[in-house]
Symmetry: C2
Subunit: 227 residues, 2 copies
């Protein structure tokens, strides 16, 4: 029987690469997308198309209104910053959603435990990571330890593993990996503040990192930046 | 300025005692109730009445459909076990909701970080705890460490504390503490499978622990067990 894995799938570049990797490693795929009230909900449409393409066993979209807690430009009426310099981008930006990856991993853990899936994939990245504290390896390691103390799985002697295959890669290396796996990046959605038709703004942190990533390996981003 | 605290409030006996304690310790109170698709949603009504009574600064009720993940008698069509012996109750029961406290604490953490509240209260109990792994002190300690790695708060040198004032108390001791704080246990809802009017069944694990608790300190439970 195939081993099962829960993959956190936002519909973005990183999580789609993660899904392609888990697929290549022959896991039975369960994709989890969290609709947390983000303003860039074009991601949700992308996640459905991608989950379908990879023929996942099940794609769960879970609604949770983190906007209720406030405090982030991704869920509130705070403006998404544009054209930040590299120096500015090393500070934790207003697009930080409080405790987002802790919440996402907890939900993945809940589903994984129900499924008897002992593997969770998350596409966090500690290099080109916009300064979010919950993308760092020490956070992931600590969460994995907590997860094993939290669950029946741990008590019964199995081990829950949190896979972060992209954590030490540059954006360019991630894209290169994805291309080698046949990922169609034209289907992914990265922008924090996309236009109505889903086209990226080209100027938010996420767009800047993505554009630089493609540029660094001399590849062409299939998305349209027509500003 | 008063220090802020987020209190996970289910509307049950333990969390209400926690709220009363945080109130006595002069925290500014933010109560968080999670509507996770539990079949005993009478709890939600209890939580509103109690939050109101303690004049909390804000009461957030967050909807999240953990039933989607399955695997528990509290959210699924699995029957809630009744009249289990003490021996049976030492095993992890079907009322276990996968990773529930990890999910709840993550959500409390997200809100706490937005509020700049550095204190989270959760009424877990490792003695009369029905065998849930996520009620143990080692889990809480590990989560606290993870929380401080996960957040801006941690990076900026503040510390998020997870308070578990009930963790080493027997049910009887918790009730005694609550009575000394003036808690009206007639407003709380404990049963996993209450009747339509909210009256407890009297025979599920939660009812049995509660009844025993009152009995052990020779106090009368104000709830009606009229089976």
């Amino acid at each position: 029987m195939k081993k099962r894995a829960v993959i956190l799938l936002s519909g973005g570049l990183d999580s789609t690469t993660c899904l392609a990797l888990a697929n290549k490693e022959s896991f039975e795929l369960f994709a989890l997308t969290i609709n947390y009230g983000q303003r860039h909900d074009f991601e949700l449409k992308a996640s459905k198309i991608i989950a379908n393409l990879y023929n996942v066993k099940k794609h769960s979209i879970l609604n949770i209104n983190l906007a209720k807690f406030g405090g982030s430009a991704l869920t509130d009426d705070i403006e998404v910053p544009k054209n930040r310099s590299e120096n500015e981008m090393s500070n934790i930006p207003v697009t930080y959603v409080p405790a987002r990856n802790t919440v996402f991993l907890s939900l993945a853990l809940a589903w994984a435990e129900s499924l008897k899936a002992y593997n969770i994939f998350i596409g966090v990245n500690s290099l080109d990571y916009s300064g979010y504290p919950d993308c760092r390896p020490e956070f992931i390691k600590s969460f994995e330890k907590t997860a094993n103390l939290a669950t029946k799985i741990g008590v019964e002697g199995e081990k829950m593993s949190i896979h972060t295959p992209l954590i030490n890669l540059t954006k360019g290396e991630i894209i290169k990996l994805g291309i080698s796996l046949g990922v169609n990046y034209g289907l992914t959605s990265t922008c924090y503040d996309p236009k109505e038709n889903g086209d990226p703004c080209g100027f938010c942190d996420a767009c800047i990192l993505r554009v630089k990533g493609f540029h660094s390996i001399s590849e062409k981003d299939p998305l349209r930046y027509n500003n």
